[in-house]
Assembly symmetry: C3
């Protein structure tokens, strides 16, 4: 019997099955420093313990996307080692802040299965949950991936596709308990714009561009203990589809989120991710730009100090975004690599 992890194949997944993922991970200030070195993050809440205490946290929480990537990384060996494609995310909610010192672990429940008509692959839907050392859920999300069958002859399971919300409803969003954002120092945050200053439909070019080096995306992805093979192995990937290592899609999400500081400087917290598509692959040497549109505004139930903005952020490579490149019309998408729909929390 092989001692190495063969990963799960489509036949191995059953509806209702819960997979406990390996390698609990204590998050540290070292992880935060690396995240800061790898992405141009400048949100005051995650940068300063003093600022965080001023709004009611015990100390600065870690970046929401850093928590997401660590949880996601744990799911890879069990969910997507034999994946052909990562098809989508939905219903991702950030439920509790994560602090240095917390230990994260992850599990996934299989909530949908549908074999493809070619009989070679199937789509697996899982809800993955990250928990801290107290067992509290810190974030959860649904993801669906196309996974190879071990044996094409194995019978197809009864297809079951979960109903997923097109967006997380504002009432389903977890608000940060014990905090008060009503008196933040806008000089410290670097942006004078609060929730009331944004309008639905408004577009913002985040202006700056960042070139990704191979060392950077590999270090980031290893930091999350995500060992998906395509990101690390030039010898094998050099002979593959693209001739090169593929950058983890989450790297582009973190980069776009960090770039969005320039225009959304007070969007301290990602409250939920409604959905996201990695429209095209990204490679070492690519320069990433981003722009955002405010899709929707919503008040926060029971809170006068915070409001919700639903944001669509589009990232492009090797093209400026001053013309807000979209994908509504054919041919629009030249250079676009990410289309992300999410809610942020912003002081009112």
């Amino acid at each position: 019997m092989t001692k190495t992890n063969p990963g799960n194949f489509f036949e191995d997944f059953k509806i209702g099955q819960v997979l406990a993922h390996a390698t609990p991970r204590t998050v540290t200030e070292g992880d935060v420093a690396l995240y800061t070195a790898l992405f141009p993050v400048r949100f005051a809440l995650q940068s300063s313990d003093e600022f965080a205490r001023g709004v009611g946290y015990a100390r600065a929480p870690i970046d929401d996307m850093l928590a997401f990537h660590i949880v996601f990384g744990k799911t890879v060996p069990d969910i997507s080692l034999n994946a052909v494609a990562n098809l989508g995310y939905a219903d991702c909610r950030f439920l509790k802040p994560v602090f240095p010192g917390d230990t994260l672990s992850a599990s996934s429940e299989v909530i949908g299965l549908k074999e493809n008509s070619n009989g070679k692959t199937g789509v697996v839907y899982v809800r993955s949950t990250g928990r801290n050392q107290a067992g509290e859920a810190v974030l959860d999300y649904v993801r669906w991936v196309m996974v190879r069958k071990r044996d094409e002859a194995s019978p197809a399971p009864a297809p079951q596709v979960p109903e997923l919300p097109s967006a997380v409803g504002p009432s389903a969003i977890a608000l940060p308990e014990g905090t008060d954002f009503s008196r933040i120092d806008l000089a410290a945050t670097g942006s004078p714009f609060k929730w009331g200053d944004y309008e639905a439909g408004e577009k913002i070019d985040h202006v700056d561009g960042v070139t990704i080096e191979e060392a950077e995306h590999m270090m980031a992805t290893r930091l999350y203990q995500n060992t998906a093979k395509v990101h690390f192995n030039q010898f094998t990937e050099g002979k593959g589809r693209f001739g090169r290592r593929l950058i983890y899609g989450g790297h582009v999400i973190s980069l776009a989120r960090a770039l969005s500081f320039n225009g959304l400087g007070n969007a301290f917290l990602v409250a939920a991710i409604n959905g996201g598509r990695h429209v095209a692959p990204c490679f070492g040497g690519d320069t990433v730009f981003a722009w955002s549109q405010v899709l929707e505004k919503a008040p926060c139930p029971g809170r006068n100090d915070l409001g919700l903005l639903r944001i669509r952020t589009i990232a492009a490579k090797d093209r400026l975004c001053h013309d807000f490149p979209g994908m509504e019309n054919e041919g629009d998408g030249e250079g676009i690599i990410l289309d992300l729909d999410y809610w942020v929390l912003m002081p009112r």
Copy 2:
């Protein structure tokens, strides 16, 4: 109104104006680890909590240049986003040690303005101050930059150029309170040479060379949350003056300072920077060497355990420094990228 930061133009600066810079930053052991990974630092005081306690600190202070870069980084969005050139530094003093756990913030006062005769740009002089969470100044310095005017037709302000010392006077230097360097272990520091072993005029080739990778200078510069565009964006810089990303000048300062360990191993603390010039740009792939000359020696007022050395360190790229390349005569400067004049504290 644009939500992104347009930066300040020459007309936006007024004498006496104080700019509070954004993004307070809690410094951590993670930052120190990254700094150690990025620069070949080996000074015992910053490397070992035990050594630091032995001379009277609560724990190891962070590298002075790391503190400087973090403070400097904060000033960029307000001072130099529309800068054409970073012209100089002067009168930089390190006033208090910075420890992991401290939160740094920065402000700048405009102390000089002089429009250039072309009417398109002007020189802005600011004194920038970094403070810890207790509001104590940890370092301050003057810098002057050439900044674009928003509108060439705007009237020139009355020119005012501050008087700046050509060097910080020994009496203006802040000595580390509560410390005693009289009984340090020279085996632990790696250098047998104390203050008394150096002579004014003495030249030291630091021998070693370090090649800079693109990933390294970008990670370092992001660690300081310095978002000056020219360091990160190959897509745009590839079409510009140099065809490539420009390395943050402070990266070369840190590299030269770290290289200077080999010859100045007991120069634990940078007490002041008298002035510095980035003589030529530095790019990914360049190999940096450095040499130093002792310009001057001075006792420390009230301290028998420490002495001051005024050092001129010159860094060069892709050339050895055994012949002490200078810039006194025309044509001397081939390959020279940095000329830095500073005071260090060394045990007697």
Copy 3:
């Protein structure tokens, strides 16, 4: 007198001489984060404070190889600055766990000397010991290097070659005090295989490959404050034997050890290194693969919860290892870069 470190030459070493190495180093969570970002480490014991507490540690110990590299790095300026070749390691034992917050220092005793017949070089044998702030030895090992003579005319010392064990005996291995591995959670560790599941002779292909970037190996090697010149200076190395920077051999050891997780996921601790050979140099851009063979099994004296596996791990560059490439026959070694013989501790 030169202020820079000339290093020791063959004549400078005397039998029985003890060299106290410079730069004590406080290990931090930042170092652990960088190590995680640089190597694909996933062993649960080093990843999670909670997991570590569950088996009896106060918190997660650092990776054994990280401790080794930090100690090794300190010896370089005194032992191998004038080395022509690093010839071997033996009798390396990991004696105490190292935790973030510990301060490591190192010393070496000269235990053997043998001048080469050409009169230009000699072999120096040292036993190096790393100690924590309490003075406790945390690891020790013997290494021998070929070092240049300063003066070919100096007389040869009486040759003395230490007797070294071909392998550390199980009874000489230090077991982790106060721990109990009998009830670990195999879902958390990611591997269902315990000591009893392995057999002597068994071979395991670790499957995954990792490409090394120049920025990565330089950052790692600087993190250990190892300043051996050949790793960092492309200007000089570009004119040398290989035309490029040489990767620190320890980088390949760490990479191979991390890759071995896939197949040896419960091999939490390296107990001893019996010997190792860097069969061929490794360079930036190389992709490293590894496979292992179980050489021997041994019980742990006095412990029913742990067993010892003696492992031989072979790393290769730019070649897969599914055929277990060895070096027993001539021509076998194509692409092989490391042959490492060591003991690991694994729960029974």
